[in-house]
Symmetry: none
Subunit: 229 residues, 2 copies
DNA sequence: GGACGGATGACAGTTGCGTGACAAAACACC
DNA sequence: GGTGTTTTGTCACGCAACTGTCATCCGTCC
């Protein structure tokens, strides 16, 4: 069945849309924020995404951009604002269509069908190769893409932090001593082990929800550091 | 240049649309009836068709159906009627989008670009072999055709820039270090890595909407460059 | 309570990168 | 072959981000 994800913060509108879509034979899912929508879509991709522009937290424009970074799904903006600037900005951000609320469900589904018909841009015959990712709960590390994500959202880390994280990730679940890390990440045969502490600390600030109580990048007193799920 | 055919019986509106489109850098053609439009399109196909619904003789719906029989061109209905039945019928007939008059030219062109992004590459029944295209949002790279396009418009890049772009495109989503690029694009085993910077910079001027904040050709500090959607 | 290992915040030196200018080289066109 | 134009590689400058060090603070284990 064709699945549609509705990202809309107004409960009444979201529910109405979901019910109407189900009446039309779609499998409908809802999300109240862009963050939640992005997470849902990453976990279990729908065939279409409907998204409001005015959302708490990440707004619709930014949500579309983030979604487009790694998803080709047709996106239709459903907004109350009938303003040329918004329409142009949303389409530039990567949306495929823009309709103004309130919208007839029949029109919406007709537009979805039109989008489906039009299909996607041709990519290489064998398609792009997927980039390998190491996952630790909500944390994702992709050495090849040079990317770190938390709950799907990109996290900006520096080169040293990234190398350190990759080293830990590639030996997930094992303790690495400060000496080992100094040697593998920095190439130092000897040196101040405090250096490792500082970078681990900085890394925790970025990748842990509560840096004071790390869940993934943990300290083993007297032994070293370990990355775990 | 991108050509647009406007099928609209009201002379004033047609002329206004044509002038506005030309201002936006399109090659604009007009037709006052569906018959004339179909003939024009068959003789010299435009890249997009804008069509009114209420036309003398063959009406817009039927015009769309006839056009769709042997043309894959994106069709946008530009109508004064804001009626769900019309919208659904037009989309069902084969239109790709439907906007209500009066429409801002900026919105119209944004919708055309969105369609272009999504549109299938044209493959006439016994036309030329389709050329593989690597797509990154509004950016398209065709290594075989030696072509780069942004929102459908060809971008002039030099040979070195093109090779660099292809190398990045063929490893989309992965970081390539300056050394790797030097070696693969220039064939240098060693050399000044700043050379890569300069060419990346020049490439960005041409393919990024805002070269200072690149969306596709991004720098990963300390790691290298990456091309992403 | 003292000692130790680890966390953290501030800081200054360093590095990495973007950019504009320029000259040599390649190219196109007579 | 000569001339004008485009492309290419080199360089220098400047900004912003990163790095490593240090001093201090905190928690934990005897």
């Amino acid at each position: 069945m064709t699945a549609v994800l509705v990202i809309e913060d107004d409960d009444r509108i979201r529910l109405a849309l979901l019910l109407a879509l189900e009446d039309e034979g779609y499998e409908a899912r809802g999300a109240a924020t862009a963050e939640e929508g992005l997470r849902t879509q990453r976990r279990d991709p729908a065939d279409y995404v409907l998204v409001d522009l005015m959302l708490p937290g990440i707004d619709g424009f930014e949500g579309i951009r983030q979604l487009r970074r790694d998803d080709d799904v047709p996106i239709v903006v459903v907004s109350a604002r009938d303003d040329t600037h918004d329409i142009v900005a949303a389409l530039e951000a990567g949306a495929d269509d823009y309709v103004v609320k309130p919208v007839a469900i029949k029109e919406l589904t007709a537009r979805l069908r039109a989008l489906r018909r039009r299909g996607r841009t041709v990519t290489a015959p064998d398609g792009p190769e997927p980039v390998p990712v190491l996952a630790f709960g909500e944390l994702e590390v992709s050495p090849e893409a040079g990317e770190v994500r938390r709950s799907g959202e990109p996290v900006a880390v520096t080169r040293t932090e990234f190398r350190l994280l990759c080293e830990l990730a590639e030996h997930a679940g094992r303790v690495l001593s400060r000496q080992q890390l100094l040697s593998r990440v920095w190439g130092y045969d000897s040196g101040d082990e405090r250096l490792v502490d500082v970078h681990v600390g900085r890394l925790r600030q970025k990748i842990e929800a509560d840096p004071a109580n790390p869940r993934h990048l943990v300290t083993l007193r007297g032994l070293g550091y370990k990355l775990q799920r």
